[in-house]
Symmetry: D2
Subunit: 366 residues, 4 copies
């Protein structure tokens, strides 16, 4: 029996990415698309059409299937969430704060909004990295009296960083993290997004709120699950986040101080062999390799490496010793901010939650 | 009496930048242009002309003056350096290693090549930052039996970093530096330079040799002059150097650990009030402000800030506390890599050396 | 006595370009800045400030003068236009249709909006090209009972084309024009403007409404002034207008069929020697050369040529015979779309109108 | 029985594109890779490796297969072409002029060089457009006494233009063509290619030799096969060729005068229904549609449309009437310059020639 899913904010960029990640999914069937009043009472195909110019406002490389274009779009306000088994939301934080708790009364919600990320009973799950934090969802349900829950994804810049820190922390103990990001334009969305006039021949050295998010979220994701929530990882994280003239794929230059000495080869081995905590499960969206380590010193490059494992792998290169931090190593990574870092990462989280019985009664294999 | 200067490698990009920095100079007169055999025995204007297409191969925004275009170009091999008071060289390191000592027998040489940067009796001068290191030139002359000397400029990525570290080190004691650079394409020159195909929608995460240069040079520049050379500054420097799709102006994200606590305002004040060790002297190419500190969090941006003080200022922004390093601060800087970071920086060094009596007998005012 | 001018829409991009073109003007004094309610009752400097981030929303390369930043901004609705001698408007067409006639009752209006461009008693003036069309303004004033008038500028893509066609039409008779434009992003403004995501590694082949404007306006500008308006020039104009990844400066590839044969040299001579119908008058914003003809086959390039004569010259290159059209010639041109093609072009038009007595009683020399 | 093919110039960019187009080919087996002396006596994988940095110099999106990386590379000078059934050459014109006739004595050569394109007994074949011109190859063989032949592909800018003109000429009679191209950087190759510094925020308005090639080749391709070669098509072709900041995919703005009136719908229908002269044959590299016509006025865009049919389709949009040429229509097209416009187009030509018995004795089906 397929899991019926709904996408809220389906006509926006992230909503479209959900559609792409879901439209041929073996477990999930898109059965509800919701958007603003303006788009409602049309098919999805009609809602995407610019009425004035006739252009289709579709922003993914992959085309939407005919059957999805024919689905009706409903207004969010008219929807009964109990009709689906699972909701993916692609809406602004303000709206999420209001709508998601209402949805969660009956239905699990996996959200790209930051609204609930920092609440004590809300886990920030990166599939493969901290799936065990899902246990917080039970607490959340009990405390709030919900049948569903809210499981937000982390910020897209956090994702690649936390994935690479995970095996390092496990094996060597991370003590300090300093990171400079070179983020792609798709991370800023389209409303208003980044103007070509502003980014041509240029770098924008500031992304409001981003550094604080990466710092807090990395500590939460790599923290320890305790009675009353997650105890943050005990190491400091300090970032400088910039925007560069790249369409997709965040690049991050990372400096890490470790708790114990490790050779460059040991660090590379720890990264390359990290299988993720879903190893052994057969999840449709899981990459064969969570981390790809490259030896070519000119890699990773966002244009060449962002699509590794269909955007679900974090590609690492230039692993080398750092002489300043205690037991320091440094490396660069490229992570696809709108695949593993957003919609498709949420779908993989949903697969983990289904697999572990948090979604749907009909858990696979019992 | 004007100082007669020669430019070696005059038809290349850096040579052209020297021409621009010198052609209206109040102290210096271009009296010799040297290039390869192929360009010799023509006027400068003819040598710049592409014989096949008729295009002028000129790569600076500022146009060359008529009188410079009419100067003859000589072959390097045919030149008698004693005919000029000062030479600026814009040649590859291999060639520099061979030619510059020959020139220096009679004539001071200011060089953009890295060939001699790391020798004990060779100072790496950034004007305003460590002019006192010029005293090494006397040692160099004595030891090598030269009337002239070789004074190389530092790597363009080092320049902005060292300038900003100088006042911090003076006032608070620098303990640790971690830096990620986002370097412009002009830093790679034109032979072969960076292909549009490689940099479009992309970042190149590696610049061979660059990180080692920045690390060693920063320590030398901020080191202490002693009997037998410079004792490197005692703090560690660790870099990751990348190339981005920007034409001019290197951006650097810097994390600094200080020896004593300093508030963000104190750090900004230290940077903004740094006048340079040439304060009070009237040098034609010196910027009014060596460091410009901006409060707008969206600055510095390379396209907007690289031309501050005609490319001679280092523009700093986003000064804030870093929670990971001991007494940590972090900031971004933009530095014009082909102005202060190359030809025009060399001309300013020459002005300092003239002013302090290292070049020409006829020191200004004594 | 200085002419007092007002700028309506002063905080937007085009309004800022007016401020730059006017702030050191020898004839005109900015005495009124108007904007929306939101910006009113603040100084201009305050109105430009983003309240949330502290950034200054200023989009021109030239900085605003202190004295302009200190001017108060008024709400359009509260303004008495008779307090100034001349208004420059930088507002949307819808708003222009409503506001400009009200202003024109008392005060001359020079407008960047397209609202009135195609009305019979409204001239489309390119200074130097068809200043004689200004006589229509008298008709406009009589017919509409206005003391002022509305003089719109042409579309920025039309400007360079019409300037180069003018001398060709005069000397050889233009019969047919086919043009493909490669337009810069600044032509699309900032609301919403062109997203970096859409233009990176790309071309957008359609600019709604643009081709129709260029075709109709070129014929009107090069038409003949008659009793009841302008009889359009009798030749056809056909365009394809595209957007490319260039910040400023429209490039146009033009094919022209002439009424009589002309050699390439004759065509170049006709272009290069075109002095404009304001030749001999001393207008502050007029370029020394309206058209610059380049022989280097790799020119014009927008980045290198858009700033010729501070953006007031049209730079032409690659003039050569076309074998398809009767007496065909072809060439490329670069024209600065936000200087001669917009605000500064309007200021030059104002200078022409002052000089010829259409603005201000106190005509110079009279 | 598989056809054994060799690739000459295998390590260069175009050679790599041949490898990609051939490595899983159902008819052709790569059995020989040739390159310069420097690359010889290594495996292909070794020859691609940069010895200094360890980077693999591979420039295609598709990765080379393990079995291809293991093939030995031979020096061109040591090769016996009779060992293969077919050669693809990716070498410079000078070299082609010397080597290709020697190869052709025994072996068919399909070449990307322009050296022989304009000789009377050499057809310029675009598969689907003028396969009948292949008959010239018999003449070539007889006249020159060769067992093989030389069949060059057209210039990449010609390909999309000629493909779209073919059905228009067939149905309505083309009288005049004016075209402006906006060409991608990959068309310039990598030695030296287009520097990022030159194309950022810019257009380069001149590509030496390109316009002459497009004009002559279009007339030859659409010409009529006669006794002694091809009688060029009787219509004039006039181009302006420019370079823009796009990685792959040439965009062309085309104006066509037709011999008889045709509505926009008739023109679109003629384009969309053009099946190519290989319709009905089952060629592995042939696109399902040679021409894709789009109704969305914002298409074609190079980034979105260059990969249609794996780069083998020409995508047309904005078909509309032109009011200047007699029976004028205008449109834009995007054509993938390194797929249909180069290596993969050559492979499709080879499939046509195999299918029609020009290559290999063992023609499919008899």
């Amino acid at each position: 029996m397929a899991t019926r899913v709904g996408v809220v904010g389906a006509t926006g960029v992230v909503g479209q990415q959900f559609v792409v990640a879901l439209q041929r999914h073996p477990w999930f069937t898109i059965s509800w698309l919701a958007a603003s009043e303006r788009s409602a009472h049309q098919t999805y195909g009609e809602a995407l059409r610019d009425k004035k110019t006739g252009a289709r406002r579709w922003f993914c490389a992959e085309e939407p299937l005919r059957e999805v274009l024919d689905l009706p779009v409903e207004a969010v306000s008219e929807f009964d969430p109990s009709r689906v088994d699972l909701l993916f939301t692609a809406i602004e934080s303000d709206q999420a704060r209001e709508l998601e708790p209402a949805f969660a009364r009956t239905t699990p919600v996996i959200s790209t909004a930051s609204a609930f990320r920092y609440e004590a009973d809300v886990p920030l799950i990166i599939p493969g990295v901290n799936s065990d934090h899902a246990r917080l969802l039970r607490q959340q349900q009990e405390r709030r009296g919900w049948k569903g829950f809210i499981a937000p994804n982390p910020n897209c810049t956090t994702v690649g960083l936390a994935i690479t820190l995970r095996p390092l922390h496990q094996q060597f103990g991370v003590q300090a993290v300093l990171m400079t990001s070179l983020q792609s334009m798709s991370g800023a969305g389209r409303s208003p997004g980044v103007l070509g006039l502003d980014i041509i021949d240029n770098i924008i050295p500031y992304i409001p709120g981003e550094e604080e998010k990466v710092q807090a979220e990395t500590q939460k994701i790599l923290g320890t699950l305790e009675e009353n929530g997650v105890r943050p990882a005990p190491f400091g994280v300090s970032c400088t986040c910039t925007r560069v003239n790249v369409s997709e794929g965040h690049t991050e230059a990372v400096f890490v101080g470790l708790g114990q000495g490790a050779s460059v080869d040991e660090v590379k081995e720890a990264l390359a062999s990290f299988a993720g905590d879903f190893a052994g499960e057969d999840l449709p969206s899981a990459p064969a390799r969570l981390i790809v380590v490259r030896d070519d010193p000119f890699r990773p490059q966002p244009r060449l490496d962002r699509t590794a494992e269909d955007g679900m792998a974090t590609v690492v290169g230039r692993v080398r010793a750092d002489g300043v931090l205690a037991n320091g190593v440094k490396y660069l990574l490229v992570s696809h901010n709108t695949k593993m870092g957003a919609a498709k990462g949420c779908v993989l989280t949903a697969e983990v939650l289904v697999s572990e019985g948090y979604i749907g009664g009909m858990a696979h294999d019992g």
